[in-house]
Symmetry: C2
């Protein structure tokens, strides 16, 4: 953790509570010394897990002091009992910290449809409170993961005359795994920002990071992003429209894009992380639709795995995205190598060069529609045998 900037005024703890049978870390607590301003973004899935139903109205108050997270059980599709269980974990945490229940957020990730057992919480929450200290953020990141191959931490440090740090912890192996309750992200800063502006900053950062990645297009019942700002750095209030706000937004966007890219790289079995960049669209919205269509195409993703510069699949995925286009104006490049001009193949030499680009672990596919100034990127992984293996055998 020495390489990461740590915001002041936060403490962390993680334990193996027994929810995961493997006896790995599976429960964690993040506490701000004082109530922090907060913002949240939650899944747009219409099937919503119990912890989100409990946490969403709390975050809407604009204040939060503690986040309790568990892995191994998503507490999703668990009915009214699941909501009662989530409320109970809020109450246990608030009591152990001697703070108001309104200041406690809870998140769960793991298998869907299995009742959340309360006894691990009854045992572990007092242990967590006793263990809280400023340097255990990495243990929290470890306690959050499920099928992830690695923990995901990113940070930023502003060193001007109004200094602060931002620390992001994320969990997820792709925008995937509805039954593993996918993507959790907690971003902590000691900057001073009001909750309404914090929400604006978070919405914008999510659009360009977590909402611009795809592994298989599935969206979970538990996706949650929380942003806390406790002001413990002692700096000035950062206000909308100021230059300081733009600097903060840059830092926040970078931290969240870093985390999002880590999630794509950890896409189950992924061997490549590819940026699909659409330029020259009528507007940014159209660019986004086209980029997402290419990024989610199973045929495109399988071709990346096969290291095949199969631009026919890319152009077809742009075509069925539904946006306006003129097929005779489309150019496609793999990194710096043009492969399609005016909708037709440039030639075998370029295709051979593009084949070399595809052997890389990271590259950019640029699709120019020559219709306007709209631009957007999506980040995606390859689709391969490991993906099938992991997802065919997960529960069994």
């Amino acid at each position: 953790m020495t390489e990461h900037a740590l915001p002041a005024g936060y403490r962390f703890a993680a334990v193996a509570s027994g929810i995961k049978k493997s006896n790995k870390l599976d429960m964690a607590l993040i506490v701000s010394d004082s109530p922090a301003q907060c913002a949240g973004v939650f899944t747009r899935n219409r099937v919503i897990a119990a912890p989100l139903l409990v946490t969403r109205p709390r975050i809407a108050t604009g204040q939060c002091q503690a986040i309790l997270v568990n892995s191994g059980n998503a507490n999703a599709c668990t009915g009214a009992e699941g909501v009662a269980a989530a409320e109970q974990t809020v109450a246990l945490t608030a009591a152990a910290l001697a703070i108001d229940t309104d200041l406690v957020a809870v998140s769960s990730t793991g298998v869907i449809g299995v009742p959340l057992p309360l006894s691990p919480f009854e045992r572990a929450i007092s242990q967590l409170v006793a263990a809280l200290c400023p340097d255990q953020a990495e243990a929290v990141a470890r306690a959050m993961i499920t099928t992830d191959a690695f923990t995901k931490i990113a940070s930023a440090k502003e060193q001007g005359d109004n200094p602060y740090s931002i620390l992001g912890l994320a969990k997820g192996a792709g925008m995937i795994h509805p039954d593993m309750a996918t993507m959790l992200c907690f971003v902590l800063t000691d900057a001073r920002i009001d909750s309404a502006f914090l929400q604006e900053l978070l919405d914008s950062a999510v659009a360009d990071s977590f909402n611009s990645i795809t592994v298989d297009g599935d969206t979970s019942t538990n996706d949650t992003v929380l942003l806390l700002a406790n002001g413990a750095a002692g700096g000035r209030l950062i206000c909308p429209g100021s230059e300081e706000a733009a600097v903060f937004a840059n830092h926040l966007n970078r931290v969240m894009l870093d985390l999002a890219k880590m999630i794509v790289s950890d896409g189950e079995g992924a061997t490549k992380m590819v940026q699909i960049k659409v330029v020259g669209a009528k507007d940014a919205h159209a660019a986004r639709i086209a980029a997402r269509s290419v990024a989610t195409s199973a045929l495109v993703k399988t071709a990346f795995f096969g290291e095949d510069a199969n631009w026919g699949r890319i152009i077809a995925a742009v075509g069925y995205s539904g946006i306006d286009l003129d097929q005779s104006c489309i150019d496609i490049c793999f990194d710096h190598v043009p492969i399609v001009a005016n909708g037709v193949a440039i030639g075998p030499d370029n295709e051979a060069q593009a084949g070399d680009i595809l052997k890389k672990q990271n590259f950019v596919v640029t699709i120019d529609l020559h219709l306007g100034a709209g631009e957007a990127s999506y980040y995606t992984s390859d689709l391969n045998y490991e993906y099938v293996k992991i997802n065919a055998s997960y529960r069994t």
Copy 2:
């Protein structure tokens, strides 16, 4: 072919023209003795292959006498030269048959982005015309295929006092393979029906067959369905609203649904064909959206391969489809085995029984939303190693 009903007044021929390097059948001709009434449905992809640009306006005239089809080259993303080449194949066919060029439809399927060579057509079309005979429909079906594991033929015979036959030939291994130009279907009948009504009947049959199947959600640049009615059975004109029309629609729908199911069964590497049936939706449109969302989920399809009764992925896919729902009202069955009631798991016994259903090659997943009378089905396959293998290595 003895088991299939053959409509009167059609002749068929197929040859190995050399477009496919394997020297397999790759070009075929279907000719009606007299100009037939016709209807067509074409891809909704905005990137459209040359043969569709050439054939669509011809079909719009309501008359067609000959269909020339080749596999091995899709003539897609080939620019103005590709359109000129398609026009040239129309001209060659019309000249060899001594009919008007407006009566000739052309279809191509194969690799995208490679110029269509004309010399195979110059050599083969006169051979095809010389070889035309009524009993070669199966050879035509064979000449249409690309990665298909088997040819697809279905038929129906009406034996009342206005008898006729319907014969359908299809090509495609899923709604897939943009670079292999996917799905072609030619349906021939000797019933007597006007082209405007024929188009209505075809639109409706396509909605419940080819537009209700998915292997990976990709849509090709070349998808084409043509329906010809030459009246050669000598029967009465079948008019809209009549009982005869309803009988014909039933026959047509069954033939096309049979072909669509064959395409799903042949989904690349598919080992299972699963019907996703949504009932109790607000309306049929909402049911269709939800069924499609489940049918196209890579996680659901991978779970089918793993024979895992993973209802969490199914309910999550319904949730992110975007339709209105109340998660506490959702029931799910695998065939006759209920597994979820009111949005929560029924229990381990039912899950074990559902696991047995999943071992079958064909089964039905019924999702009841308890919101209304809307109902729709989608047909899908499992996602497995073979799919990845076929699609990662296809061009190389």
